[in-house]
């Protein structure tokens, strides 16, 4: 049988290596928040001829919109992210006139404006939603595993694995925001919450198998039981993830521009979720059982303890 649990320290290290760049980016750069959170306008226009983004920026700057982000795509459409531009305001008409005179006729594909206070509300609600989802899932798992020795532990480690996946997605988007101007929006929060759901979904299946195998006393030690359970579920875990990844890949390739980053966040989140449910969640149970995690914390506490003694 493959030994996954025995090499757990390697898997923890792999997770750390995968997460580290993102964590650094989160600390240094943070997340590039889109207009959903900060307020502002996102404006998508389609022209009949190619448009020079520098010229667009100049026109916008001339009307007081200095820090506008302008992205052009191959089909002559441009996406502008700028400070709040009100529908029906004279300044909007003026910008439109200048566009028309410089680049010819255009169609407004979409325009979205969010006021600054609304942006703040959405940000707070997003954080709230993530916290609520964590608590809800923790409570449910603790209840579902109420017949095991330490039901809360299962919930807690499912959450740890889940946070691992969320952190990975956040980290990747922090890097993307840093190097490629990718901003996160309300839809991104949706992706994160879905990744949370999927991650726990995947982890629970392994946990269920561990619970069942413990009842059946299938292996002499806890560690072996966990390894046996992981090995039993790994094919199913990969198959399920593969079907989800296949559908997401189809969405990513054919689903159109406006949901592309949303689908990308789901894709990497599902991949991370599959990894963490196989290589992290159940290994943490073993590490706890063997006292490795507690030892880590006593080691952590040591300096303050000795200080307390000398005082």
């Amino acid at each position: 049988m493959i030994d996954i649990v025995g090499k757990r320290h390697i898997w923890y290290a792999v997770s750390a290596i995968l997460l580290l760049p993102g964590i650094i980016a989160l600390f240094v750069h943070g997340l590039s928040l889109g207009i959903d959170f900060t307020g502002g306008t996102s404006w998508e226009l389609q022209f009949n001829q190619p448009v020079d983004s520098q010229q667009v920026r100049t026109i916008l700057a001339g009307q007081g919109f200095n820090d506008s982000v302008v992205q052009t795509s191959e089909d002559n459409s441009i996406l502008i992210r700028m400070k709040e531009l009100k529908e029906g305001s004279p300044v909007k008409a003026e910008i439109e006139d200048e566009f028309r005179s410089q680049f010819g006729e255009f169609t407004e594909l979409q325009i979205e404006t969010v006021g600054p206070t609304v942006g703040n509300q959405i940000r707070n609600r997003a954080i709230m939603a993530v916290i609520l989802a964590s608590i809800g899932v923790l409570l449910y798992i603790a209840w579902a595993f109420r017949n095991t020795e330490r039901p809360v532990l299962y919930g807690a480690f499912a959450i740890v694995a889940m946070l691992h996946d969320v952190l990975f997605v956040l980290g990747v988007f922090s890097i993307l925001g840093w190097v490629a101007d990718v901003e996160i929006d309300a839809l991104f929060v949706t992706a994160v919450l879905t990744v949370m759901g999927f991650s726990v979904h995947d982890t629970i299946v392994v946990f269920d198998r561990i619970r069942e195998n413990l009842d059946r006393r299938i292996a002499p030690t806890y560690e072996e039981t966990v390894n046996f359970s992981v090995a039993q579920t790994v094919v199913r875990s990969l198959n399920t993830s593969l079907t989800v990844i296949l559908t997401l890949a189809a969405l990513y390739l054919f689903g159109g521009e406006s949901t592309r980053w949303f689908v990308f966040a789901l894709l990497i989140g599902v991949a991370a979720g599959t990894y963490s449910s196989i290589f992290n969640a159940s290994q943490l149970l073993v590490s706890w059982r063997n006292g490795e995690i507690q030892r880590f914390f006593t080691f952590w506490r040591k300096p303050s303890d000795s200080r307390a003694r000398t005082a």
Binding site: M1, D36, G64, K83, E84, K86, E87, G88, S89, V91, L109, Q110, E112, T113, V114, G115, V118, R125, A126, M128, A129, L132, A133, G136, Y140, I141, A186, L187, T190, L193, T194, M196, G197, F198, V200, H201, I204, V205, E212, A231, Q232, V234, V235, R236, N239, T240, T243, V244, L246, T247, L248, A250, L251, L253, F254, G255, G256, S258, T259, F262
Partner: protein
Amino acid sequence: MTIALILIITLVSTWIAIPSDWLNIAGAKDNIYVHQGLDLQGGLQVVLEARPPDGGSVGRDELVGTRDTIERRVGGLGVSEPLIQTRGSNQIVVELPGVTDPQQAVDLLKQTALLEIIDTQGQSLAVGTKVNTTLGNATQPDSSATPGTAEASPDATADATAEATPGAESTPEVTGPVFTTIVSGSDLEDAFPTQDSVGSLVVGFRLKSDAADKFYEFTSTHIGQPMSIVVDKTVINTATIQDAISNEGVINGLSATEVTNLVLQLKSGALSVPLEVVQSRTVGPSLGQDSIDKSILAGAVGLGLVALMMILYYRLPGLLSVAALFIYTAIVFALFKLIPVTLTLAGIAGFILSIGMAVDANVLIFARLKDELRLGRPIPAAIEAGFDHAWPSIRDSNVSTMITCAILFWFGRYTGASIIQGFALTLFIGVVISMFTAIVVTRNMLRILLTIRPINDRWWLGVDHGQGVPASATE
């Protein structure tokens, strides 16, 4: 029995799910269709926030009243299926699918036509004068023109009132005294065109009883002094108080057209609180159609890939799960039409994602089935045991996804993103139905197929002939 039920559900769902013009027996499907969200059919979504001038809070009744007013105004636009609802304590969400001129719609919504009768403190104000009142200040029309300053301005009513009335281009902000508002639009019970004593057309209005008391008290103590009727901070009429008035009065000195317009504005537009657009989104129709086409392609490719993989890996059960997947798709799509779920781009993404997750229950069951077969169980017993053992995992994992869906739904409700709500709802429906199709549909199909002799073979179930001993526990 169960099989008959599954068959009926499948046929009915398929009948509902296929396009409305197919097999439309006796027009039964006339009202069953896919409700497309704004991002699919194009249109306008606006979030309006009530901004009481004194910075206080808005009452529930006031907000609902304002919503009703907007509903009446939107009625005049001829939009099919507009959505106007209050959100939280001070917001109103307006969705106008298919609106091709967002500018006109926004203008209409923002047109507050705030009626006020003010105490002019003895001054005789000329018609057309802009005034500041206790319900807010008047400002120049293009206050929102310079970005940044609009936010900095503490006066939120500025854009709402000023933009509706162009003119007075140069004055940055109207200076001068702040006049006391005696009664406002919210005190109005009715407005109607009528004739005054000399036969000219005037606007008659009637006040609600508590406002009438206030009005009586004011007019009886100010006889001989002027008072002004102001609409949107512009004086439209100044009259000398001849007598104490309680509940009825007239606005004179207007042309016939002005009378008609003002009555309309007052009747349908006596908003009690000024509104400001805090969020708006317009999607052009071409983008919407493009999105639908792309989503259908993505869905078809996704469904095909999953089907292929399931058949290749799980053989006969895989084939059954694909059949179950098509039944799943038909039921879910029928539910989308019946409930109805407003399909948005994210909703479709949720649905396509759920196709991938829908086979998970089947994968769990089949993995267990293989286990049981390798342990040497006879096929019928292995099938039952496979389903029974897979159940706790299916239940627990799907409940956790449903919890996340519920929280997503709540999040969507408060962010104004019907886009997120749609995603949560479609994913939730998908998870529930996938449990049904995996447990009920696949199981019964498998039971029946195994009564047919040639199929009753372990190879078909994905276990090779040599395998009989649980030598490898990797599955």
